[in-house]
């Protein structure tokens, strides 16, 4: 058994990809907790899709693709805010407009340049964790160090700000700076995750571990710690599944994460569908839910 588990680790590419998967899982769970409590899941999706043209342009110019992606993410949030503040268009609509436009531009650019270079659009969309280099590992570790340091150092201010923006502003906390800091954290985390899962699935790593932990514990730092534990478990399990059954790594990690969420959703002591039925009639909760759904559809 142990031998089987150690087998993949003899390959240095597996070591590197495991490290990246774990580190990315950790920072996604932490930063994703902020996204979830602020109801900004869609923003995470918007930024992750928007970094694509930045990746392509950086690649063309021979610049660091992390930097390119980050710049594109920042520009997209600026556009989103511009549309939102200069018109009556709501934030989610603005996000939808900007991120789909950026995404389309990114796909166009990459498709154009991949004829002449050996890059692969699929690697950007779905990640290419088995292809991470030592430099990628280094960059990921640096980003993780920055993200975790900022969260630890600003924890009490960010808790106050994300819970009660007006209250935090009223005592004179620099809320615009805190907001900018959070956006930076989100951008950095997404950029660091691209190699592992790509732009399309990164949302799952951001949101699902945090949401799963939220079903089980009651304070933000507990959500973060449990989210990290869930993410690390899913990263390791996903990588092994992908190694032994020859599955794509990113989707394997996401599927394990989603599986853990389903377990928590059904069996959470506080809020589970099975453990915490909405009413105390004798019927099994899940059957009732189903019946409710069917009846609701008929109406």
């Amino acid at each position: 058994m142990l031998e089987t588990l150690l087998e993949p680790l003899q390959y240095s590419f597996m070591q590197r990809s495991l490290i990246v998967a774990i580190v990315v899982g950790i920072i996604c769970a932490v930063v994703g907790s902020y996204l979830m409590v602020q109801r900004l899941a869609l923003l995470g999706d918007a930024i992750s899709h928007s970094v694509l043209p930045g990746l392509a342009i950086a690649y063309l110019m021979g610049a660091n693709i992390f930097v390119g992606a980050f710049v594109a993410g920042i520009i997209s949030t600026i556009f989103i805010n511009l549309i939102r503040t200069r018109s009556n268009i709501k934030e989610d609509t603005a996000m939808g407009i900007v991120f789909s436009a950026f995404f389309a531009l990114g796909i166009t650019l990459i498709t154009t340049i991949q004829k002449d270079t050996k890059i692969d659009l699929n690697h950007f969309l779905f990640g290419n964790i088995l292809g991470v280099t030592a430099a990628d590992v280094r960059d990921t570790l640096i980003i993780a160090f920055i993200v975790i340091s900022v969260v630890v150092l600003l924890y009490k201010e960010l808790l106050f700000y994300t819970f009660d923006k007006l209250g935090a502003q009223a005592v004179g906390l620099p809320v615009n700076l805190l907001d900018l800091g959070l956006m930076m954290l989100i951008g950095l985390t997404i950029v660091a995750s691209l190699k592992a899962v790509g732009v399309i699935l990164v949302l799952s790593l951001l949101i699902t571990p945090a949401a799963t932990a939220y079903l089980l514990v009651e304070r933000l730092h507990q959500v973060m710690f449990l989210g990290v534990a869930i993410a690390v478990t899913a990263s390791i399990a996903g990588m092994y599944l992908s190694y032994f059954y020859n599955l794509p790594s990113g989707p394997a990690i996401v599927l394990v994460t989603s599986g853990i969420f389903i377990l928590a959703f059904l069996f959470s002591p506080g809020q589970g569908v099975f453990t915490h039925p909405p009413s105390n009639s004798g019927q099994i909760a899940i059957l009732k839910e189903l019946k409710g759904l069917i009846l609701a559809n008929r109406r």
Partner: protein, 251 residues
């Protein structure tokens, strides 16, 4: 100077984009009094408080505290927003919320001191919520939630207190606890500004009233402000309000 200065609002005007929300408001909020802000829905009560604190931009006018812009003295201000501004499903406990009152005093990159912990505990005891210290905020009744926010403002050791509709969805016990604390704070010379809309019996707990409807309708001592004519101008139609006479009979 502690606790003796007033807040002076001069010619305050606030717009949301092109819509005027407050017009030419000038008044003083006195220390040592419990001041109520009354007016119909949409009168601009919340807007007034937000504009005073600089939470929304001010078109014209000044808000001074002790001769300085109030916005420069925010560390002395405790503000409890309207219930609807808070996400009650947020994963925080009562203790987490109370300790938010200590964030500014603690300063960047530091952990809460033992003094802060003691302040937090004392504040919780004052609103009779010690037993709920580790409860998630979402599992409390409306009155208990409001008391936790009051505790947060007490933990802040502020000189100026702003409460936006603290009595909405609150039980009688909580209302009594909150008013008692308001009066204690007033006796210490603090500034207490409370937005309310209920013209019922509880109005006798306020020393001063500000009656608002986009413009200032009346300000001053409660009995002077509570004239039928003022209420008519503020609320636009005949309103029934609590009469001081029957309160004396009941008491």
């Amino acid at each position: 100077m502690n606790g003796t200065a007033a807040i002076a609002i001069n010619n305050l005007g606030v717009y949301y984009r092109t819509v005027e929300a407050l017009h030419n408001i000038s008044l003083e909020v006195l220390p040592g009094k419990v001041t109520g802000v009354f007016g119909p829905n949409g009168a601009g009560k919340s807007t007034l408080v937000k504009a005073m604190l600089g939470l929304i931009p001010v078109r014209v006018g000044t808000v001074l505290y002790d001769g300085q812009p109030l916005q420069n003295c925010l560390e002395k201000v405790a503000y409890v927003p309207q219930r609807s501004q808070i996400d009650w499903t947020y994963p925080v406990t009562v203790w987490d919320v109370v300790m938010m009152g200590r964030v500014r005093k603690t300063g960047w990159f530091r952990r809460f001191s033992t003094v802060s912990h003691r302040q937090g505990m004392e504040a919780l005891a004052k609103v009779q919520m010690e037993a709920y210290k580790n409860r998630p905020i979402g599992q409390l009744s409306g009155g208990q939630q409001q008391r936790v926010f009051l505790a947060r403002s007490l933990a802040q050791e502020a000189d100026i207190f702003f409460f936006d509709e603290p009595f909405v969805g609150v039980d009688q016990k909580t209302e009594n606890i909150i008013f008692n604390i308001f009066h204690e704070l007033a006796d210490l010379g603090k500034i207490i500004l409370v937005i309310n809309h209920d013209l019922g019996e509880s109005i006798t707990n306020f020393d001063e009233l500000i009656l608002l409807n986009k413009e200032l309708v009346a300000v001053g001592d409660r009995k002077e402000v509570l004239q039928e004519e003022n209420l008519y101008r503020a609320y636009g139609s005949k309103v029934t309000f609590f009469s001081e006479m029957s309160s004396h009979l009941a008491a």
